[in-house]
C-alpha cells in the first residue's frame, strides 16, 4: 500500500516537474492568436474599425472586446476568414464602420496643393512625400487607400481613384459551368 502511494506520488512529482520545466522552456512569446488575426486583416491602417490600426483591432478581437465585422477594407472575405479562424458564425459587415469599396489610391491634385504637410502627418504608412510649402505627392504603390489624408487637407485637393485592372493584374475568370440544354 505504502509502496503504491510512494510510486504514484513520485510519478506525480516527476511529471509535474517536467511539465513545469516545459512551460518555461517552450514559452510562446506574444499572442499567436493576435498574429493570426493580424495576418488576415488587410493592413490598410484606416481606423474605420474604431481602433488605431490593424494590430490594435486584432488584439481587441483576440480579447473579445471587438466584433469580427468591423473591417470594411477586409470586406466579406475577411470576415469569413476571421469567422473560420475563430470558430464563430459569419455576420455581415457592420454598416456603422463603413461600406466595402473597391481598392483605391489617393491622388493629390498637384496644382491645388499648397504644401501644408497635414496629409503627410496623417498618412499611416508614410506614402506621401513632400515638404512644407512644396508640392506633395502620393507614392501610389505604398498607398493603402485608407482615406485618412482626406479630412486634414485644407484645400480638398486629394481624391481617391479606384485602381483599375492592368494586363499584369488581370485574372482569368472562374470557368462558367454551362448547364446542359433540355432535350
Amino acid at each position: 500500500m505504502l509502496t503504491a502511494l510512494l510510486v504514484m506520488s513520485l510519478g506525480a512529482v516527476v511529471l509535474g516537474a517536467a511539465l513545469g520545466w516545459a512551460a518555461i522552456r517552450f514559452k510562446v512569446e506574444g499572442d499567436p492568436l493576435v498574429d493570426k488575426i493580424d495576418a488576415i486583416l488587410p493592413q490598410t491602417q484606416c481606423g474605420q474599425c474604431g481602433h488605431p490600426g490593424c494590430r490594435p483591432y486584432a488584439t481587441a478581437i483576440a480579447k473579445g472586446e471587438a466584433d469580427i465585422n468591423q473591417c470594411p477594407p477586409g470586406g466579406e472575405e475577411g470576415i469569413r476568414k476571421l469567422a473560420d479562424l475563430l470558430g464563430r458564425e459569419f455576420k455581415p459587415l457592420n454598416a456603422e464602420h463603413g461600406v466595402e469599396k473597391p481598392k483605391s489610391v489617393a491622388v493629390i491634385d498637384e496644382v491645388t496643393c499648397i504644401g501644408c504637410t497635414l496629409c503627410i502627418q496623417a498618412c499611416p504608412v508614410d506614402a506621401i512625400v513632400g515638404a512644407a510649402k512644396q508640392m506633395h505627392t502620393v507614392v501610389a504603390p505604398l498607398c493603402t487607400g485608407c482615406e485618412l489624408c482626406l479630412p486634414p487637407c485644407p484645400v480638398n485637393c486629394i481624391t481617391m481613384e479606384p485602381i483599375g485592372e492592368s494586363v499584369e493584374t488581370w485574372k482569368w475568370k472562374y470557368p462558367v459551368v454551362r448547364i446542359k440544354a433540355a432535350a
Binding site: 490600426g53 499611416p124 493603402t144 494586363v167 493584374t169 488581370w170 485574372k171 454551362r178
Partner: protein, 575 residues
C-alpha cells in the same frame, strides 16, 4: 544518331500543318499604321524613348529595356510617331497598355546597322547588344534571350535548338528552317560559343522532313558540329522540358531549371534573330507568323511587329463566317479581344476561328476520376486533383499538387471525357494565386511601414522630451549661477533682483519678494526683450513732411497714453 528518350503522356491531335506550308514565306505588305506595345517580353516594361510627332527610322530603338530583365523595343518601319498612349494589348483581357503608334512613310529607311564580331567581343557586351536589339525567346514564352546565354560554370553545356513545333496549325519554324537554315545555324554558332556548349542538338519532329533535310544541309555547308535529331510527332514534343527529355534523357525536376543540368534550350526562330542582331546588327522588328484556320490562303508571312492581325487575315482571305481570332495554336492559344490587335514578339500564329472549325465543346460534365488526364499529362501531374482544388478555390492544396509546374499544354482537356475545360481552371487558379501573393506582399509592406512609423513617432516624442528636459535643466543652472553666484549670497541676490525689477519700471511694484530663480529668469527675459525693442530704430524717418511728423507725434502720444493706462491697470491688478 544518338538514342532517343521518351517523355510521359502527350496526345496526337490532327496537325493541320500541310495547309500553310504549300507556299514560301511572303513579306506582309506594310500597313499604314503600326501599334507597337512597349511590353512585349517577360520582365519590366521598357521606357518609351520617343514622343508623339517625332519621326523614326526603321530599327530605331523606341523603348529602352527596364533593368536587366527586359528587352528593348524598336520601330518596325520608318515614319512618324503619332501617339504614345495606351492601346488594346495583344492579350485575352483586352486591356490597354502603353504603345507607340507609328504612321509609316513607306520608305522603310533603316538606321545604320551595327554588326558585332562576336568572336572578338566580350560576352557581356554581346549580351547587352542582344538586350538592346530586343531579342527574346520566339517560341512563345518571350523570355529575354541575353539572360539565358551565360556560360556553364561547372559542367559542359548542351545547346538544344527547338524546331519541334508540335502545336497544330503552326508552321512558322518549319518554313523558317526550310528557307533560312544557314542563318539559324549561324545564330546557333553564336549561342554555342557564348554558352561554351560542347554539343548542339537540333530537335525537329518527324512530320517536317524538308526542314530536317534543310537543316542538315546547312550544318554540313557551314561545316559545324551540330546534330539534327528527328523526334516522333507527339504533342507537346516541342515543350522545352519535353524536348530536353527526348534528346538528352534528362528529366528536369520540380523547382529546377534545365541549366542546373547543363542544358539550355532555344527556339530556332530565336537563333535566327540572334544571327540578325549580332552578325547583321539588325534589331528584332519582325518575325514569321503563320496565318491559318478559317482562311482561303493559309500561309506564312514575315510580319513587322505592330501590324494589326486583321491586316494578315485580310491578306490570307478570312472567310466570312470567321467569328474569332486566336493567337497561337488551338491547344495553347489565346483568344484575342478583337482582330485589330497588333502582332507582337510572342505571335507565332494567327488563326481565324469559326463555329464550323472549332465547334463549341459539349457541356461540362462532372469529373468521373477516370484519370485519362493523368495518363496524358507531359508534366507528370495529377490534373484531376488540381482541378478539384482549383474549382473549390483551395489554392494552397492546388499548389501542393504543383499547379505551377503545369505548362498549360491542354492535353488533359483534350482527352477529358467529361469535356471539362481543365486549363481554364488552372489559369484561373494561377492568376488568383498571383493576385493573393501581391495582396499579401502589399499588406506586409503596409504593416512594416505602419509599425516603423509608430516606432519613429515614439522615438521622436522621447527625444523631444529628453531634449526639453536637458534644456530646462541647463537654463536653470545658468540662471541659478547668475542670480546666486554663491549659495550663501542668496540674501544679497534678493535685493539685487528687486532692484533689477525696479529698474525695469513695468513691474516696479510687483511683489518680487521671493527670489525664485525662475521668476528672476522671466524678469531677465522681459528686460532682454525690452532692450531689443528699444534697439530697433524707426525706419524711413528722414525727409518727412510736417504733416507726417505731426501724425507720428500724435500716434506716439496715443501710445504713451496706452502704456500709462496699462501700467495703472497692472498696479491695480497687483494690489
Amino acid at each position: 544518331m544518338g538514342k532517343l528518350f521518351d517523355f510521359h503522356g502527350g496526345v496526337k491531335p490532327q496537325t493541320h500543318k500541310q495547309h500553310s506550308t504549300r507556299e514560301p514565306i511572303a513579306v506582309a505588305p506594310l500597313p499604314d499604321l503600326l501599334v507597337v506595345p512597349l511590353h512585349q517580353s517577360i520582365g519590366g516594361t521598357p521606357h518609351p524613348l520617343v514622343q508623339a510627332g517625332e519621326s523614326v527610322m526603321k530599327g530605331q530603338r523606341i523603348g529602352a529595356a527596364d533593368g536587366n530583365v527586359s528587352a528593348a523595343v524598336h520601330a518596325p518601319t520608318s515614319g512618324q510617331v503619332i501617339a504614345v498612349e495606351p492601346r488594346v494589348m495583344t492579350h485575352t483581357s483586352g486591356l490597354p497598355m502603353l504603345s507607340v503608334v507609328i504612321e509609316s512613310d513607306g520608305e522603310e529607311a533603316w538606321v545604320a546597322p551595327e554588326p558585332v564580331n562576336y568572336r572578338s567581343t566580350p560576352p557581356d557586351e554581346i549580351r547587352d547588344q542582344l538586350r538592346d536589339a530586343g531579342v527574346v525567346g520566339l517560341g512563345g514564352a518571350v523570355f529575354p534571350s541575353h539572360l539565358k546565354l551565360n556560360a556553364g560554370k561547372d559542367m559542359p553545356m548542351t545547346l538544344v535548338l527547338n524546331g519541334a513545333e508540335c502545336e497544330p496549325y503552326i508552321t512558322c519554324d518549319d518554313m523558317l528552317m526550310r528557307e533560312r537554315a544557314q542563318d539559324i545555324v549561324r545564330g546557333g554558332r553564336i549561342m554555342r560559343d557564348m554558352l561554351g556548349a560542347g554539343q548542339v542538338l537540333i530537335g525537329i519532329e518527324d512530320n517536317k522532313p524538308e526542314a530536317a533535310a534543310a537543316m542538315r544541309a546547312a550544318v554540313a555547308a557551314l561545316g559545324e558540329d551540330m546534330r539534327v535529331i528527328v523526334v516522333p510527332t507527339r504533342y507537346p514534343a516541342g515543350g522545352a522540358k519535353q524536348l530536353i527529355r527526348s534528346l538528352t534523357g534528362i528529366e528536369v525536376p520540380h523547382s529546377k531549371r534545365s541549366t542546373d543540368f547543363g542544358v539550355q534550350c532555344f527556339n530556332v526562330g530565336t537563333a535566327y534573330a540572334i544571327h540578325q542582331a549580332i552578325d547583321l546588327g539588325r534589331p528584332l522588328i519582325s518575325r514569321i507568323v503563320t496565318v491559318s484556320g478559317n482562311v482561303e490562303r493559309p500561309r506564312n508571312y514575315e510580319v513587322l511587329f505592330g501590324t494589326p492581325m486583321s491586316h494578315l487575315l485580310q491578306l490570307a482571305g478570312a472567310k466570312p463566317d470567321t467569328d474569332r481570332t486566336l493567337m497561337g495554336g488551338p491547344m495553347m492559344g489565346y483568344l484575342m479581344p478583337n482582330p485589330d490587335v497588333p502582332v507582337v514578339k510572342a505571335t507565332n500564329c494567327v488563326i481565324a476561328g469559326s463555329r464550323a472549325l472549332f465547334p463549341p465543346s459539349p457541356p461540362e460534365m462532372p469529373c468521373i476520376r477516370c484519370t485519362a488526364c493523368v495518363e496524358v499529362c507531359p508534366a507528370d501531374l495529377q490534373p484531376h486533383e488540381m482541378y478539384w482544388f482549383a474549382r473549390a478555390r483551395n489554392f494552397g492544396k492546388a499548389q501542393e499538387y504543383h499547379l505551377f509546374d503545369c505548362i498549360e499544354c491542354g492535353c488533359c482537356a483534350y482527352v477529358c471525357p467529361s469535356h471539362i475545360p481543365l486549363v481554364d481552371y488552372y489559369r484561373f487558379a494561377k492568376t488568383e494565386i498571383w493576385a493573393r501573393e501581391r495582396e499579401k506582399e502589399a499588406a506586409d509592406q503596409a504593416r512594416a511601414r505602419f509599425e516603423f512609423r509608430n516606432l519613429r513617432e515614439e522615438r521622436d516624442q522621447q527625444e523631444k522630451t529628453a531634449k526639453l528636459a536637458a534644456k530646462t535643466a541647463a537654463s536653470r543652472q545658468t540662471a541659478e549661477k547668475r542670480v546666486a553666484p554663491k549659495p550663501s549670497a542668496i540674501a544679497d541676490a534678493r535685493p539685487a533682483a528687486i532692484e533689477a525689477a525696479h529698474a525695469e519700471g513695468t513691474v516696479a511694484s510687483a511683489p518680487a519678494l521671493s527670489v525664485d530663480p525662475k521668476k528672476a529668469l522671466i524678469e531677465a527675459a522681459i528686460e532682454r526683450a525690452r532692450k531689443q525693442r528699444e534697439a530697433i530704430a524707426p525706419k524711413n524717418t528722414e525727409n518727412l513732411s510736417e504733416a507726417q511728423k505731426a501724425e507720428i507725434a500724435e500716434i506716439e502720444a496715443r501710445r504713451a497714453k496706452i502704456r500709462e493706462m496699462a501700467k495703472t491697470h497692472d498696479e491695480d491688478a497687483s494690489k
